[in-house]
């Protein structure tokens, strides 16, 4: 378990078009400007290396299927490792026509491990009847809910400074983790260390390339 320094915040949300990439970068910037460390998958995870080639011609090649499966597993593992072992809290950007399913998965894992969650949503979409899914409504009610990115630091302050008992880092469930979870975290730790060494090779994000690196 890493030594406690600045709290580290997992920035979760959609990252598949320029608007989403920019909004996630803005969330990470606000979090870091407020004095926290941030993990931003599109910048710090396997996603940074693979998103530019998603849906490219090479991706259709059958011979590359094992590589794609490996990268998919590595992407999942690093993100789960970060949530479970490195990060103290998760901020979920719930904007979108439907909430990003990857972000929903990450939020539920954080909730399941006892990590505090901040949910940011400033869109007016709430499903067909103006309401979101029952599970997301439910988790929103017991999380910090903000409707402006600039309000995220205040929500983090309430979590980390406003409470007498600061949330503990690491997996907080009393029950032991499953073999699958342990394997995932261990694999994620190794891939994460490798990514740390390969950081200098990280490409810019093609979705926002004209505006510079994210």
């Amino acid at each position: 378990m890493p030594e406690r320094g600045k709290p580290k915040i997992y920035c979760s949300g959609p990252l598949f078009c320029p608007e989403e990439v920019r909004e996630m970068s803005e969330i990470a910037r606000v979090v870091e400007d407020a004095g926290y460390d941030a993990f931003l998958p599109q910048r710090d995870g396997v996603e940074a290396f693979v998103m530019n080639s998603v849906n490219g011609v090479a991706g259709d090649l059958f011979v590359l299927r094992p590589v794609k499966r490996f990268l998919s597993r590595a992407t999942f593992a690093v993100d789960i490792y970060q949530i479970a072992r490195e990060c103290d809290c998760l901020v979920f950007n719930m904007n979108g026509r439907v909430p990003d399913e990857g972000g929903v998965a990450e939020t539920a894992v954080a909730f399941g491990l006892g990590k505090p969650v901040v949910i940011y949503a400033d869109d007016s979409w709430g499903g067909m009847d103006g309401r979101r899914d029952l599970m997301l409504e439910g988790v929103s009610r017991i999380s910090e809910l903000v409707d402006e990115i600039d309000r995220i630091p205040a929500a983090l302050y309430r979590i980390f400074e406003g409470h007498a008992a600061r949330p503990a880092r690491g997996a907080d469930t009393a029950a032991p983790l499953s073999a699958h979870m342990e394997d995932t975290i261990d694999f994620g730790r190794r891939v994460n260390a490798f990514l740390g060494m390969m950081g200098f090779l990280r490409p810019g994000n093609a979705l926002v390339d004209e505006e510079g690196r994210t």
Binding site: V54, N55, G56, G59, D60, K68, R69, L71, S72, R73, T75, F76, A77, D79, I80, V98, P99, E101, G102, G103, V104, A105, E106, T107, A108, V109, A110, F111, G112, L113, G114, P116, D133, L134, M135, L136, E137, G138, V139, R141, I142, S143, D172, T173, A174, A175, P176, L177, S178, A179, H180, M181, T184
Partner: protein, 210 residues
């Protein structure tokens, strides 16, 4: 270890229109034919009864339904089957499956849908929940997939185990969900007349508060 015929399987499937409900019931039937019990939120929980509830109780009952489903996933059930059919996976189902993953429950992903997002691959954060990124594409293969998942999740997965030891949002929610479930079991919906069901809903709403 969870094996065929032991424990209850949570069926997380999109339930927004009639054919989706039928598909979820088919999954339930396959599991029960394979020796498992199954829990389906719209059949066994509160979700299917919210339409009968007086408007002023809806907020409290949605809170109760969230707590009940969380309790069922974390403590009431021993494993989970999630259907990710649809133009995008149902976000509620993804939430439930991911919560099960975090709590160490074996799970199977069922997908019989031609649509994928990345060069024929599904979203990594969804299929990664299943060991080996495995999905099953036929309902009749779900029991075998569940047995494989039970093996991969490890022998320490016991029937009826798991749960949370600490209070906090998850622990509080599980505790509230347990109370809701006990109240439902005491005055089951099946045997009640519509008027009495509303009385039960009112009791549950009072129990969880607004």
């Amino acid at each position: 270890m969870v094996t065929r015929g032991e424990g209850t399987v949570y069926v997380a499937a999109p339930l927004r229109f009639g054919e989706q409900m039928k598909e979820a019931l088919r999954i339930s039937e396959v599991l029960e034919a394979g020796g498992w019990k199954s829990y389906l939120s719209r059949r066994d929980g509160l979700e299917g009864r919210l339409g009968r509830a007086p408007a002023e109780l809806l907020g409290a009952l949605e809170k109760a339904a969230f707590a009940l489903e969380t309790f069922q996933i974390v403590e009431g059930c021993d494993s989970l089957v999630v259907s990710i059919n649809g133009r995008v996976p149902d976000e509620g189902c993804v939430f439930k499956a991911s919560l099960a993953f975090a709590c160490g429950k074996p799970l199977v992903i069922y997908k019989r849908d031609h649509r994928t997002v990345f060069n024929g691959m599904n979203n990594s954060m969804v299929v990664g929940l299943s060991p080996g990124l495995e999905t099953v594409s036929r309902t009749q293969d779900i029991p075998a997939g569940l047995e494989r998942a039970c093996n991969a999740f490890g022998a320490e997965v016991e029937v009826g185990c798991r749960g949370v030891g600490e209070k906090g949002p998850l622990g509080d929610t599980v505790e509230r969900g347990r109370l809701v479930w006990e109240r439902i079991e005491r005055g089951g919906f099946q045997a009640e007349k519509p008027g009495l069901a509303v009385g039960l809903l009112r009791d549950i709403a009072d129990m969880v508060g607004s």
